[in-house]
C-alpha cells in the first residue's frame, strides 16, 4: 500500500462571493509517487480543487469549508500557505504572470530569497534546478527573450529548487503551442521518473496529457467527482463525452469505426493499443464513401501581394508574403509565436502599414483606407475578450461600434437585437457583461464585431481557454456565419480546430509563408508540422500503426465523416427551433 499524501474527506467548499458551492462532497486520495490527472470542463471546480491542495484555499480565497483535507498528514487549515508551499509546488497557468524575477536565475531563486538563503548556496541551487529542466544555458536571460514553453520550464525550476513532494500543474497546456505542449509533457514525465515526485495535472486537454501516461484520471463536473479510474478504464466509458471533455481523436476514430472500446485494448496509449484487434473494422470504415465538400469558388475577397513589413527598428517581420482568400472561405493561419501571424492581421486591419507590397479588398487597393473604413468590411476579434469589452452592459457593448458611427437609434436597436439573436445572447441583452462566463464574453466580442456586418471576420485564437463544449458551440456558430457567406480567417495553434473547421491552412515561419495547404495534408507532413510548431495528429499515428498506405487520406476521411455527423446535428438543432 502506497503512502497517502493528500486526502479529501467529505470536502465541500463555497466561495464567499458565490451563491452555491463550487466543490461538493469530494472524497479523494492522492498517493506518493502517483501521476494524477484532474479533468473537467470550465466551471467544474477543477482549479478550485487545485487551490485546496496548494493552500490558496483557505489562505487567499475566503469561503465556507466543510469536511477536511490533509496534506502529508496535517489538516490544511492548521497550516500556513508557506508551510504548504514547501510540500506542494504549484506551476500556474499564466506563465507570464508567474514570472516574477527579471532574469531566469532570479525567478528560480525567488523562493530561496524569501527563505533568506545565503547567496553562494542560492546560486548553487538555482543552477541545479535550472539544469533539471534543461535551462542552465539561459540563467541570465530575461523573460521576454523566452518562448512560452521555456517560461514554463523556468516556473517548474522555481518550484523544484525546494524539496517539494507534490508538483501541481494548473492547465499547463493552456498557453502553449502543440509542439511546446508536448515537450512540457515529456519533461514532466522525465522529472517524475527521475525523482519519484507526486504529480497532479489539472487540464482539460486530455489527449496531450495521456502522453505522460497518468496512473489515474479524476473527472470533475459541477463540483463533484464523477469518475476516478485508471485511464484504460475511463476511456472505455462515455464519461468524457457526457461531461464535455474531448476524447482523444484516435479514440473517436475507433468508435466511429464501430470498435467496442474496452480496457483490454489499452485505449489510453496509442503505442500500446492492440492494433491487430482494430485493424479490420478501421479498414472497413475507411473504405466507406463519405461525400466530399466542395472548395469555395467565390471571388477573391482579400489579396495580399508581395507584402513585406518591419518595425522602425529591427528585422523584417514579414517577407514577401502573398495570400489570397476567396469569399466564403475558412482559412487558418498557423505557425510559431513570433512567426508574423499577428502582424499579418494588423496589416489587414490597417493598424500597421506594409513597407512594400499591396493589400486589396475585392481587387481595390486598400492603401488609402483608414482603420475605420477597413473596419466596416473586416472585423477583428482578439484572443482575450477582457481586452475588448469596454462597456458594462451587453447591449451597450454590442452597440458601441454603431453608436460611434452615429447610426440612427431605431436601426441600431434592431441591428443589435438581430445580432444578439444570432449569437444566442438575446436573453441576456440587459445583463451586465460581468455576469457572463468567459465563453459568453467571447461571444459578446464576436457579436460586437458582427453587428458592423463585416464581410471578413478575423479571429485570434477563438477557442483559447475554452473547454470542449464551449469550443464546439463557438465553432458551430462561426460555421453558421460562414454558411451565410462570411469569410472567416482564424489564427490558431489548435490542430483540431484547423483540421475540422477550416478549408485551408497558411503556415508562417520567420515572416515567410512556407505552406498553403489542406489542413489534413499539412498535419500529415511531419517536417512541415514541426516547422509550424504543430504536431501530426494521433489519427496519423493510428493510420501508421494500422499500416494504411496513405495516412493523410485516413485523416481526411475522418474529418469528412465528422463534418457530416456535425451537419446532421445541426439539421436536428435547426429543426428544434
Amino acid at each position: 500500500m502506497k503512502k497517502t499524501l493528500v486526502s479529501f474527506h467529505n470536502f465541500s467548499y463555497k466561495y464567499n462571493s458565490q451563491e452555491s458551492p463550487t466543490l461538493t462532497d469530494i472524497n479523494l486520495e492522492i498517493h506518493a509517487g502517483e501521476k494524477l490527472l484532474i479533468a473537467g470542463p470550465s466551471g467544474s471546480g477543477k482549479s478550485t480543487l487545485g487551490y485546496c491542495i496548494n493552500g490558496l484555499i483557505p489562505n487567499a480565497f475566503k469561503g465556507e469549508i466543510s469536511g477536511s483535507i490533509r496534506v502529508a498528514g496535517a489538516d490544511t487549515r492548521t497550516m500556513s500557505l508557506f508551510d504548504l508551499s514547501k510540500i506542494v509546488g504549484t506551476v500556474l497557468q499564466d506563465t507570464d504572470a508567474q514570472f516574477i524575477g527579471l532574469t531566469v536565475g532570479e525567478d528560480i531563486a525567488f523562493s530561496l530569497e524569501n527563505d533568506g538563503v545565503a547567496l553562494p548556496e542560492m546560486k548553487k541551487r538555482v543552477h541545479l534546478a535550472a539544469a533539471r529542466v534543461g535551462m542552465e544555458a539561459f540563467v541570465d536571460q530575461s523573460p521576454h527573450e523566452l518562448s512560452g514553453g521555456q517560461k514554463q520550464r523556468v516556473s517548474m525550476a522555481g518550484v523544484l529548487v525546494d524539496p517539494v513532494n507534490i508538483l501541481l500543474f494548473d492547465e499547463p497546456l493552456a498557453n502553449l503551442d502543440p509542439a511546446a505542449g508536448r515537450q512540457t509533457m515529456q519533461l514532466i514525465d522525465r522529472i517524475q521518473r527521475e525523482s519519484g515526485l507526486t504529480v497532479v495535472i489539472i487540464e482539460h486537454r486530455l489527449e496531450e496529457v495521456l502522453e505522460v501516461s497518468p496512473d489515474r484520471i479524476v473527472v470533475l463536473a459541477d463540483g463533484r467527482i464523477v469518475a476516478d479510474a485508471e485511464p484504460d478504464e475511463l476511456l472505455s466509458t462515455d464519461v468524457l463525452l457526457r461531461n464535455g471533455i474531448r476524447e482523444p481523436l484516435y479514440l473517436s476514430a475507433l468508435k466511429r469505426a464501430g470498435v467496442d472500446v474496452v480496457p483490454d485494448l489499452h485505449p489510453s496509449d496509442l503505442g500500446l493499443l492492440k492494433i491487430d484487434l482494430v485493424r479490420e473494422p478501421l479498414k472497413r470504415w475507411f473504405d466507406q464513401n463519405v461525400p466530399s465538400v466542395k472548395a469555395s469558388q467565390g471571388k477573391t475577397i482579400l489579396a495580399l501581394d508581395h507584402v513585406s513589413f518591419h518595425y522602425t527598428t529591427g528585422t523584417e517581420v514579414l517577407r514577401d508574403v502573398s495570400i489570397s482568400v476567396r469569399r466564403g472561405e475558412r482559412v487558418a493561419i498557423v505557425g510559431k509565436n513570433g512567426a508574423g501571424k499577428s502582424t499579418l492581421t494588423k496589416l489587414i486591419c490597417g493598424l500597421e502599414h506594409p513597407r512594400s507590397g499591396t493589400l486589396a479588398f475585392y481587387g481595390r487597393n486598400m492603401e488609402e483606407w483608414t482603420i475605420k473604413e477597413r473596419s466596416a468590411h473586416i472585423g477583428l476579434v482578439m484572443q482575450d475578450p477582457n481586452q475588448m469589452i469596454s462597456q458594462q452592459m451587453i447591449f451597450d457593448e454590442v452597440a458601441l461600434g454603431l453608436r460611434i458611427r452615429g447610426t440612427d437609434p431605431d436601426e441600431m436597436r434592431s441591428r443589435v437585437y438581430e445580432t444578439l439573436k444570432i449569437c444566442g445572447l438575446y436573453p441576456f441583452r440587459n445583463w451586465p457583461v460581468s455576469a457572463l462566463s468567459f465563453g459568453q464574453k467571447k461571444r459578446v466580442t464576436i457579436a460586437s464585431i458582427l453587428v458592423l456586418r463585416p464581410e471578413i471576420i478575423i479571429l485570434d485564437e477563438p477557442t483559447a481557454g475554452q473547454d470542449y463544449r464551449h469550443y464546439t458551440e463557438i465553432m458551430n456558430f462561426l460555421d453558421q456565419l460562414n454558411g451565410r457567406g462570411m469569410t472567416v480567417i482564424m489564427i490558431t495553434h489548435d490542430m483540431h480546430l484547423m483540421l475540422e473547421y477550416t478549408d485551408r491552412a497558411i503556415v508562417m515561419a520567420d515572416g515567410l509563408k512556407i505552406a498553403d495547404e489542406l489542413p489534413a495534408r499539412l498535419l500529415s507532413d511531419q517536417e512541415m508540422a514541426a516547422q509550424a510548431s504543430l504536431r501530426t495528429t494521433s489519427l496519423f499515428r493510428l493510420a501508421g500503426r494500422a499500416g494504411f498506405p496513405d495516412p493523410a487520406a485516413f485523416v481526411e476521411h475522418f474529418i469528412l465523416s465528422e463534418k457530416e455527423e456535425r451537419s446532421h446535428h445541426e439539421n436536428a438543432d435547426a429543426n428544434l427551433y
Partner: protein
C-alpha cells in the same frame, strides 16, 4: 512600443555596473546638496558632472525625452508660479533691485528675480540627471535590493520593483487594447475632435484596468505560493558586493557635499550673490 517610460535600459557601461545601493546613496547625497544650496557655481558644477555621467552611461536623449519634457513643463509652471506669488523674492534675498521691465503693482521684472529663478531651475537641472540615471540604469530587482539595503522594508521595496517590472507589460496591454478598439472603428487619432477622443479613450482605460487587476491577483498569488512575506528578512539573488567604483562614486559625492557645505559656512549664506 515607441513611448517607453522610465524602464531599465541595459548597456555595458561603468554606471550600469555600479551596484544599485551605491547609486542610490550617491543620488541621495546629490539630492541633499541640490536641496541645501543655492550657490550658482556649485549647481553649475553639479549640472556639468551630471551631464558627464549621463554621457558615460550612454543613455540616449530620446529614451528619456518624454519624462524630461514632462518635468520641464512642471518646472516652467513652477517658475511662473513663483513669479506670480512672490515677484520680489529675488530682491529680498540679494538685497538690491535692478528693474529691467516696469510692470504694474509689484510685478516689475527685476534682474534679482530672474537670477533667483535661474538658480531654482538650476537646482532641478542639477538633480534630474542623477534621478533619471538611477532609475534607468538600475535593474528593478536590484533597485529593490538597494532600497532594502538602506533600510526600506523589503515588501515596499519589492512593490516598487514589481511596478517597474510590469510597466512594459501594461504598456503592451494598452497597445493591444487600443488597437482592438480602433479596429472596431473607435477613432483615437488626431482626426477626431478632442472631446470625442477623450470619450473614446475611456474605451481603453476600462479594459486596461480590469486586465491589470487580474494580473495583480495572479502575481500576488504566485508570489505567496512561493513564500513571499514569510520572514522578516530576505536575501537577494541580484545583490552584489561593492567594488572600487562604488566606493569611488560615494566618496566623490560625499566630497562634493562637504565642499558645498564648507562654501556655505565660509560665505555665511546659501546664496551666491553677484549683485554686491
Amino acid at each position: 512600443m515607441k513611448m517607453r517610460m522610465l524602464t531599465f535600459i541595459d548597456r555595458p557601461t561603468p554606471i550600469h555596473k555600479m551596484t544599485g545601493a551605491s547609486k542610490l546613496i550617491c543620488f541621495l547625497l546629490w539630492s541633499i546638496i541640490g536641496m541645501s544650496t543655492y550657490d550658482t557655481w556649485v549647481l553649475i558644477f553639479m549640472l556639468v558632472t551630471g551631464l558627464a555621467v549621463f554621457a558615460v552611461s550612454r543613455i540616449k536623449f530620446q529614451e528619456i525625452s518624454f519624462v524630461l519634457i514632462f518635468i520641464l513643463i512642471f518646472l516652467l509652471l513652477n517658475d511662473l508660479a513663483i513669479y506670480g506669488f512672490s515677484p520680489e523674492q529675488g530682491v529680498q534675498i540679494y538685497g538690491t533691485r535692478h528693474v529691467i521691465l516696469r510692470l504694474p503693482g509689484s510685478y516689475s521684472l527685476t534682474l534679482e528675480q530672474l537670477f533667483y529663478e535661474l538658480n531654482i531651475s538650476l537646482k532641478y537641472f542639477s538633480m534630474i540627471p542623477f534621478a533619471l540615471l538611477f532609475i534607468v540604469t538600475t535593474q528593478p530587482s536590484e533597485f529593490a535590493a538597494s532600497l532594502n539595503k538602506i533600510g526600506v522594508s523589503y515588501r515596499i521595496s519589492y512593490a516598487v520593483a514589481i511596478t517597474l517590472r510590469y510597466i512594459p507589460d501594461i504598456q503592451r496591454d494598452y497597445q493591444e487594447i487600443a488597437q482592438a478598439q480602433q479596429a472596431r472603428g473607435i477613432d483615437l487619432s488626431k482626426k477626431a475632435r478632442i472631446g470625442i477622443r477623450i470619450k473614446n479613450a475611456a474605451a481603453i482605460v476600462l479594459p486596461l484596468i480590469f486586465s491589470s487587476l487580474g494580473r495583480i491577483e495572479t502575481i500576488s498569488n504566485g508570489m505567496e505560493l512561493r513564500g513571499f512575506g514569510k520572514k522578516k528578512m530576505r536575501t537577494w539573488y541580484s545583490a552584489r558586493t561593492f567594488a572600487k567604483r562604488d566606493y569611488l562614486g560615494i566618496a566623490f559625492s560625499a566630497a562634493v557635499l562637504v565642499l558645498s557645505l564648507t562654501i556655505m559656512l565660509v560665505r555665511g549664506s546659501r546664496y551666491y550673490n553677484p549683485f554686491q
